[in-house]
Symmetry: C2
């Protein structure tokens, strides 16, 4: 019998239809990225990108070779850094200028070094650059949220194969975040506990959906996973802001993230994937967009959503916000735990 | 400058980033459906499907050749028709049995006759079958919503190329519908007018996003379109329930839908697409799931969302519910209007 499960964070029902018994190798793929040509993200091609915003370098000059991680503006930005928002009504509609930031974090000078295969120390540097950019952009009060996300593979939306992450700072708090923030606030106001902490504790007790229970960070398949092999990665103990994560916490995250990426790569044969960081919005920005920030340090809990792109999203999902997942999260967790590294 | 636009129906912001100036033929595609083998939806293969639920026939017996439209249960249903919901909590979680209906409407006995190319009279029959199944399923008070949707092409989630539509009856009102119903109710309570009627009237006055202004039905590119060439099709005058649509209304819809499908097919080179019907939930079912039905006949307005699948949805969209659309809706409408049929 298929089962309907309610996601207490995004307040959405999901259909878990695992009767067809799909296994990790039942998801065919055939899309690939273009190869050949000059890669603008490779070391030595620094002049092919806009001037860098930040980098991890050992003494070399900006926009020269000799870097480990490099941050540049997106050459084709979805949002522009200059200008004012100019909010206006248009009859029944509302609009504003597309002001924001759109950056690319080039994770490595090596075109072929996937994040999964990078040394833990290097992943740690990438994560610290995520944090550095977040802290910097949150100083700009025009920006209400900063989303850090990675598209790996053509089917996941990547247009270049050189390993990179992106970041978009938006002048409004996105809908999905508002939903999560409201769910977390309501739970806290009722129980004076963090919703995420409660769920993580229940998951650790049950164990059936846990993939990796690290000392400081955990990875698990959510109870109401929308997608096969979807994962949720979060600090084990309460922590609301990725921008405030310590170097030590990010090191623990690097260790766990590498293991997650390796298990997924081996179990699912290097699938396309997305991951994205959910953290508190810019609490210094005045506009609240439906959420109250009063208890946010107590009620929200930063986390990473990890989504392998194994299935096509079809009409039903677009039409309803209601997902059909053919793999039970308990099975996904088991497959990933049992993968030999 | 990119622009942020607010969707007053789904209460979501969308980034319109049309600066890259993508034209209708800038969207490459390479996915295809398997060909060869026996198609279970073709005339003569009726025994390869579960027994039919309904059909348009001229005197021939059930599950025999001699039909024009045929409705069958999905052989691999996401939800099952038998059983009780058995709602239960699991610690902090909630679950229920996957009770519902999942049907396939085979639009034609002819494997190669796309809906776009079918005669208007035939499309009218398909639409009347949609309505018939909706009316029938809404008698079952376990079902809160019935979604009618079509996946055309592999990239849109279709697994068989024989023209068909699907229908899923769900025991909860899906999140996207709840959002729309709440927006419509709030607008009505404030203004005593239908939100959709207001928007349609504003669009008809402006004209820039109108694709087809039929006498009874209109097709337009929404102000805050999430996707390139996304369309909204709705009755021009207030009407809340697809289940109550008259034969005459459905005939007008058939005429308009055929023209939309032909324009899209020619302008965008037969792209994969989804369309789906949004109508009132089952007002006879008691559970309200966040929406009040008191004014629903006055505040809601049925419509069809039409989404060509031209771009990949990437990490940013999944992480935020916030879409980046590279084609301004005004341009999409213009391209479609200018397509010569």
């Amino acid at each position: 019998m298929p089962e309907l499960r309610h996601d207490p964070i995004q307040r959405r029902w999901v259909i878990i239809a695992s009767e067809r018994g799909r296994r990790p190798d039942d998801f065919p793929r055939n899309e690939s990225l273009p190869t050949g040509g000059i890669c603008p993200f490779c070391e030595g091609n620094e002049s092919k990108t806009p001037p860098e915003i930040a980098a991890v370098r050992n003494g070399s000059g900006a926009n020269q070779p000799g870097w480990e991680v490099r941050v540049i503006p997106n050459k084709f930005p979805a949002l522009r850094i200059e200008g004012s928002l100019d909010r206006r009504g248009l009859g029944a509609y509302d609009r504003m200028n597309g002001v924001g930031a759109h950056e690319v974090i080039i994770e490595t000078p090596d075109h072929n070094l996937q994040l999964a295969d990078a040394p833990i120390e290097h992943i740690h540097k990438v994560l610290r650059i995520y944090r550095e950019r977040l802290v910097d952009l949150l100083r700009d009060q025009r920006f209400k949220y900063v989303l850090i996300f990675k598209n790996h593979g053509a089917a996941a939306g990547a247009s270049l194969s050189h390993p990179h992450t992106q970041l978009i700072a938006t002048p409004v708090t996105p809908l999905t975040l508002v939903e999560e923030l409201n769910a977390a606030k309501d739970h806290y106001l009722e129980k004076e506990r963090c919703l995420f902490c409660d769920l993580i504790e229940q998951e650790l007790e049950s164990g059936s959906r846990i993939v990796i229970a690290g000392e400081q960070v955990v990875a698990l398949a959510p109870f109401a996973s929308r997608f096969p092999f979807e994962l949720f990665i979060a600090p084990r103990h309460h922590h609301h802001s990725f921008a405030d994560a310590s170097d030590e916490m990010l090191y623990h995250l690097a260790v766990l993230l590498k293991e997650v990426l390796l298990r997924v790569k081996k179990c699912l044969k290097d699938p396309p994937y997305n991951f994205l960081v959910h953290t508190v919005p810019n609490v210094k920005a005045r506009h609240r967009h439906g959420a109250e920030w009063g208890t946010i340090e107590l009620d929200y809990h930063w986390h990473i959503e990890f989504i392998p792109r194994l299935t096509q999203v079809a009409g039903f999902e677009w039409g309803t916000g209601f997902y059909i997942n053919p793999v039970a999260p308990e099975d996904a967790a088991k497959y990933l735990r049992q993968t030999e590294l």
